[in-house]
């Protein structure tokens, strides 16, 4: 292996976003120590470094190469437009979350620990950026752990609160178990093939004399670790409790960024490891080892049905959004079950839109909780008359999450159903459609509390500061505009479909 300084400098070119994030972590820690009294400088540093990272990620849309590749073997990282898209989603979510945190009353409570807060957020970002482009099982495991360890602590950031601590413990136990199981799966795959690189494993398992049962078992063990991150059933048990217990900015972050990283990893793992060839219509011919199509369809139907039906009984908005997030993981998995580039396109469009609408919904829930101190549905009674801006925005975000026109959520679902019908998976499409109808019920139930219950004299009037109004509009306008004019988002997605090597 060539380890000259030129080689190293050259390889560092491909991980510029990760380098910027690493430098920012150090910078934030030192700023926290030096400017001890002026905590408001920390979010500014974070936002600036996110913008710089974003610039380098945009550069990666033009790249299609391995990074950190020792001579004679495939690289540890795959830098490609597909990864760049998911990195953009993560960075966008982080940007919005930092703006959330400035306003969140829960985070303000522990204002002397803001240094830790932003350091841990950046730890999560670093983990996610590596997970998204990792092409090596060990790098996948290590960066997933970096992501998880930071998020366990963030879930319990407000140490004094009972439900924060409980969320943190539950997340830790479920997360620790599933990542341990995933590591066991990785060790078995290493034993069968002698390699941990996804691309090398792919070329090694083309030979037919493999011990199939063992390989299937190991793949399912690895899927456990990923399924936990994307909160798909039956690995979803942590989701409602952690979402309800954690501070709202962190809940919103887990529901977008963590999930995006998990999906990028799942797609890369399935496609790169098991692909045999791509036929002329763009469908992937996978190796005849494990029937991913049936497996993913089953998981997806289970997630959708369970998420949507459990959400019907929820009275806490955060818990309701947690079940809705499980259901959305189900819809997103359908895009993978199609096993074609068209399905991938649908997932990418869905994620671009899901980021806006879900962050928006959490933002409104946070602003209301800042004032009333709870997320209980009865506290939303009559708010439609006293706080029109918040209520109208919440209504639009919820309609978008259901998937009704003229909002962007409709476009997201539309592309997903087109992909399903083109692949002749009509039954699955019908089940997904019925699930959407069920989801309408619980989203509209919140609107009923907002508008059909008369305002009492003690119904709070929730003022919105100028910064928050801008933030709401930043999320609301795309949700509406992309519902009508969605060509840019589709064009953007078409660029982002290409994975390295295919």
């Amino acid at each position: 292996m060539e380890l000259s300084i030129n080689y190293i400098l050259n390889e560092l070119n491909f991980i510029k976003p990760e380098l910027v994030i690493s430098i920012s972590i150090v910078l934030i820690v030192f700023t926290d120590l030096i400017f001890d009294k002026r905590k408001q400088i920390l979010p500014v540093i974070s936002l600036i470094s996110l913008l710089i990272t974003g610039y380098f990620v945009i550069e990666q849309f033009g790249m299609n190469t391995f990074a950190i590749a020792p001579a004679g073997s495939k690289g540890m990282l795959a830098v490609d437009p597909f990864g760049a898209f998911f990195k953009m989603v993560v960075l966008f979510a982080s940007f919005i979350i930092i703006l959330f945190s400035i306003n969140s009353s829960e985070i303000k409570l522990s204002s002397d620990r803001h240094g830790e807060y932003y350091t841990l957020i950046f730890g999560m970002i670093l983990g996610m950026l590596f997970v998204i482009s990792a092409a090596d099982l060990i790098l996948i495991y290590i960066s997933l752990e970096l992501l998880s360890l930071s998020s366990y602590v963030l879930a319990g950031f407000t140490k004094q609160s009972l439900r924060n601590s409980e969320a943190s413990l539950k997340y830790l136990i479920y997360g620790g178990v599933s990542s341990g199981i995933m590591l066991f799966g990785i060790s078995i795959i290493y034993g069968i093939t002698g390699s941990t690189n996804l691309y090398e494993i792919n070329s090694l398992i083309q030979a037919p004399q493999l011990p199939n049962i063992t390989f299937i078992l190991a793949s399912i063990l690895i899927f456990t670790g990923i399924g936990f991150k994307i909160s798909a059933a039956p690995f979803h048990f942590w989701t409602p409790d952690v979402y309800e217990g954690a501070p709202i900015p962190i809940t919103a972050y887990l529901s977008i960024a963590s999930k995006a990283a998990g999906f990028a990893l799942l797609i890369r793992f399935v496609k790169v490891t098991f692909i045999q060839s791509i036929n002329t219509e763009g469908y992937w011919q996978l190796l005849n080892i494990i029937d991913w199509k049936t497996f993913v369809v089953l998981i997806s139907i289970l997630s959708m049905t369970l998420g949507n039906f459990a959400a019907l009984w929820q009275n806490n908005l955060k818990r309701l959004l947690a079940y809705s997030s499980i259901a959305h993981a189900g819809y997103l998995l359908l895009g993978l079950a199609v096993l074609s580039n068209q399905g991938l396109l649908a997932i990418i469009i869905y994620f671009a839109i899901y980021a806006f609408m879900n962050l928006g919904a959490f933002l409104i829930v946070m602003l209301i909780a800042n004032k009333t101190g709870s997320e209980d549905m009865d506290d939303y009674n009559g708010l439609g008359f006293t706080s029109p801006l918040l209520s109208v925005s919440l209504a639009i975000f919820f309609i978008s999450l259901t998937g009704l026109p003229p909002t962007a959520g409709f476009i997201a679902k539309l592309y997903l159903f087109i992909a399903l019908i083109d692949a002749e998976m009509i039954t699955v499409a019908v089940i997904a459609l019925l699930n959407t109808v069920v989801s309408l019920y619980y989203y509209v139930r919140v609107l009923k509390h907002l508008y059909l219950v008369k305002a009492e004299p003690d119904t709070p009037i929730i003022g919105v500061s100028a910064l928050n109004t801008v933030l709401i509009l930043m999320l609301l306008i795309p949700t509406l505009v992309f519902g009508i004019y969605f060509t840019p988002i589709v064009d953007f997605a078409k660029v982002s479909v290409s994975l390295l090597g295919f």
Partner: protein, 103 residues
Amino acid sequence: MIQVGLNHFLVLSAVLFSLGIFGIVTRKNAVMVLMGIELILNAANINFIAFAKYGNFGYQGQLIALFVIVLAAAEAAIALAIVLNIYKTFSTVNVDEIDTLKE
């Protein structure tokens, strides 16, 4: 005299893995649950090293085991901090009694 081979190591790691899962499912004390997780990680470590030695895959397996040991230590540190905080707020570390977040 029995020659110790790959199978012996695999059986050992499978037993450790099962014990880990068993501990996680049955134990009520949060610290014991965390020890179950450690057992799973060590089962995987044994696999990595055994495969590297008997499969002639070079030193990669040993290196991976080193990485995993470091990560397990980091995870244990964070986990114990969280459990300590749980003890402060709930005055118990029994995972069955920590259930305020239920409908």
